[in-house]
């Protein structure tokens, strides 16, 4: 016995330690798992060792855990549990109903009982219900085991879910419902059409069934094929009453699921105190629902919960106004504050509408925001407020295209297509057409003679030429092409075969241009004079930089200076030329050179003056004679005239004298 106590204590310690740090269970804890396995084994063995006369349990004396995986351990436990389940259920129910037994005041304890009792599979190995300690242990263990193990039973899951979703005490409600059930267990009846003041169909059926059951009392172990199978919960709950009218799913109404729309609390109070029938009916109906589905059971409990005073979950229609309301949880909180002043949904909507109207009115009366006030300058609106606004304005300039991914993709598509088509936009090098002036003249030869062909023949020829040309044109291009291709091919072949191949040198085009009148070059028969010359005027005489020849009046000072410079340059060149020639001449032929040179002339003059043959006239400035040649020569002329005159005079005088003498002689 000591060993057993020690074992239990150890188990308790382990479980307590594990429970103290529940956050560890978020991850897989292999060590703890092993501990718990050992713990389970210990408990199982102890229970088996203690033995029990009331119930047999599984044939296994001890729990085997070595190299057994979870599934197998569970199956072992299941064997044990299934065997003792029925017994435990009955005993618990009995003890729960037993007034002598002191139930713990702590509602959680009760709930644990209720929970445990409502479980299909007991997860505990040991349920020594008499011992309160055990209850504590089991409670802990169940809790620990719950947290550790994967809940096999989805019911448990749902219970826990329901617990989290709905903020109420399920245990309390169950307790209450049980109380309610007890008070009204006798009146679980269904109303039918044939019901009367004196006769109630449901009562009759119930009575008949009771009688039948009594008859069948010994045949508990056999399976009654005709009996309607009830779920374990219902069976347990309504065991004493033994009345279970069944309600089909077709008869479910709104009332079964939801609260009545008006003033639930009042109703609840009434039903609890006064109108018990209604409530009991509905309760019975709920309880007697033949529903194997777990959802219905949960709904049942939920509706029971809703009935309670403190039940605050309410289902409401989702009206548009209601959407603005906060969640039901908040409503619950509201209700929990003022449970008496619950307003109808219509009233709530009205309130909201009014609030909205008020706010709108206030808005209208207020000053408008800057966006709605006409022209707003920078001072009248907050800083950088335009950045947040989307503005519309006219664009004077065409906007640059927005480069998005799509545009780039489009461009790329175009590029790819171009590459495939080999359609490049290359610049074609332009060749300046060489228009030679002479060729133009040759285009139409001007025949200045009477044409030898008659007009008819001319037109005939033209006609023929026109028609022949068409056929010629078709052939020629092909010929040309062929010729070109052949040329290029042969050129390449030549280059390949001859190592010392040298291409033909480009023939320089020589154009002989003679400055002859055009008539002699062009005309077939020499005819009379023509003005045209072959060379262009520019080629004959170079045009000066200034352009056209300018009259003296038109010349600008620059032009004049330019001309002067040119003149001086020309003169300088001439002089230099002359000197060079003179020098050359002197060297080669000294006599001729000296004759013409300035030096020689000066020397000669000197000689003459010295000799006295010539006299140098000094230029004093007074004598007019020396200033101009005209004066000089006129003076010279005068001098000569004078001399002649004198001479004549002398001659005349001499003649006169001779005439006198002759006269005298005659005498």
């Amino acid at each position: 016995k000591m060993a057993a106590v020690e074992g239990l204590e150890r188990c308790l310690r382990v479980a307590g330690a594990a429970a103290a740090r529940p956050e560890r269970f978020l991850s897989v804890q292999d060590g703890l798992a092993a501990d718990f396995k050992a713990l389970t084994k210990t408990l199982y063995d102890l229970s088996k060792a203690r033995g029990s006369n009331v119930v047999r349990g599984s044939p296994l004396k001890e729990l085997v855990i070595e190299s057994f995986d979870e599934e197998q351990i569970w199956q072992q436990l299941e064997l044990q549990n299934n065997a003792v389940l029925d017994f435990f259920k009955k005993s618990i129910a009995r003890d729960a109903n037993d007034e002598d037994l002191c139930l713990l005041s702590d509602p959680e304890e009760d709930s644990s009982n209720a929970e445990a009792s409502s479980d299909k599979e007991l997860e505990e190995d040991i349920m020594e219900i008499e011992t309160e300690q055990k209850n504590v242990y089991t409670k802990d263990k169940t809790k620990a085991k719950e947290k550790q193990s994967k809940p096999r039973e989805s019911k448990m899951q749902k219970y826990s879910d329901e617990d989290s979703d709905v903020d109420f005490d399920i245990e309390e409600l169950e307790q209450q419902t049980e109380i309610a059930k007890k008070t009204t267990s006798k009146k679980l009846q269904k109303k039918s059409i044939v019901d009367d003041k004196f006769f109630k169909l449901a009562e009759m059926e119930a009575f008949l069934e009771d009688v039948e059951k009594e008859d069948r009392g010994e045949e508990e172990e056999g399976i009654n094929y005709f009996e309607d199978l009830l779920s374990d919960d219902e069976e347990e709950e309504s065991e004493d009453s033994k009345v279970k009218p069944i309600k089909s799913s077709r008869d479910l109404t709104y009332k079964d699921f939801f609260d009545p729309v008006d003033d639930n609390d009042e109703l609840v109070a009434n039903t609890v105190e006064d109108g018990q029938e209604e409530e009991t009916d509905s309760v019975t109906e709920e309880e007697n629902e033949e529903s194997t589905s777990e959802a219905d059971e949960i709904n049942e409990i939920m509706t029971e919960n809703m009935r309670s005073k403190e039940a605050s979950k309410k289902v409401t229609f989702s009206l548009p106004d209601d959407s603005e309301i906060e969640d039901s949880i908040d409503m619950q909180s509201e209700k929990s504050i003022d449970p008496i002043e619950i307003k109808s949904s219509f009233e709530k909507r009205q309130e909201k509408m009014n609030a909205k109207i008020r706010s709108l009115e206030e808005e209208l009366l207020e000053e408008k925001p800057w966006q709605l006030k006409g022209e707003v300058s920078g001072q009248k609106r907050p800083e950088n407020s335009l950045l947040e606004e989307t503005l519309l304005f006219d664009h004077a300039v065409r906007m640059a295209p927005v480069i998005t991914e799509e545009t780039t993709l489009q461009l790329e598509d175009i590029i790819k297509q171009r590459i495939l088509d080999q359609a490049w936009d290359d610049v074609v090098p332009k060749e300046k057409p060489k228009e030679e002036a002479f060729e133009y003249k040759k285009r139409i030869t001007l025949d200045h003679e009477k044409s030898k062909l008659s007009l008819a023949e001319i037109y005939e020829q033209e006609y023929l030429k026109l028609h022949q040309q068409k056929t010629e044109e078709e052939e020629n291009p092909e010929h040309k092409e062929i010729q070109e291709m052949m040329d290029s091919l042969f050129l390449k072949l030549d280059a390949l075969c001859n190592f010392h191949f040298t291409p033909k040198p480009p023939v320089p085009e020589v154009k002989i241009v003679s400055n002859l009148p055009a008539v002699s070059m062009e005309e077939v028969a020499p005819v009379a004079v023509s003005d045209a010359a072959l060379l262009a005027p520019e080629e004959i005489k170079e045009k000066n930089k200034a352009g056209d020849v300018k009259a003296d009046a038109e010349k600008t000072p620059t032009d004049k200076k330019r001309e002067r410079r040119k003149k001086k340059l020309r003169k300088r060149m001439k002089l230099r030329e002359k000197e060079r020639r003179q020098k050359l001449l002197e060297k080669v032929k000294p006599e001729q050179g000296t004759k013409l040179s300035k030096k020689a002339a000066a020397a000669k003059l000197k000689k003459l003056t010295k000799e006295g043959k010539a006299s140098l006239l000094k230029d004093e400035g007074k004598d007019k004679v020396l200033k101009s040649s005209q004066a000089f020569f006129s003076q010279l002329q005068d001098q000569v005239k004078m001399q002649i005159k004198d001479a004549n005079k002398l001659k005349k005088k001499q003649k006169k004298q001779r005439e006198v003498s002759v006269h005298k002689l005659k005498l």
Partner: protein, 183 residues
Amino acid sequence: VGNEEMRKIPVPANRYTPLKENWMKIFTPIVEHLQLQIRFNLKTRNVEIKTCQETKDISALTKAADFVKAFILGFQVEDALALIRLDDLFLESFEVTDVKPLKGDHLSRAIGRIAGKGGKTKFTIENVTRTRIVLADAKIHILGSFQNIKMARTAICNLILGNPPSKVYGNIRAVASRAAERF
């Protein structure tokens, strides 16, 4: 072949002898190719052309009349023959004084300009524009296709108005080359 139609072309005195000389050349194509009847009325000094039963084409009469008329104006027989052979040849006549009122020496000079030395200018125009020109004192006759007549007329008018021949050459050359390029 309903009624017999007849055309009369008067012959001036100066063309009498050339007509006599070229009579064979004239009447042969008319009679043989156009199937018409032709005679020279000595009394009235008219060339008369008449249709007969053998005439197939009624327009032949007009053609023949034009042919003879062209010859009478002064064109050569061979040139005038083109009128019969080609449909789209026309004959245009105008006077020098139509272009510009000239009198006396100016008129003579204008005519001289048109003719050129030894007929050079006239021949040049004829050759370039593919027409035939007859310059009879103050009257000018041009034979050729419509476009060519126009070109020649422009050239002659320019000469009358006083342009030097070289300039006129240049112009008609340019125009002719452009016309030639088009075809």
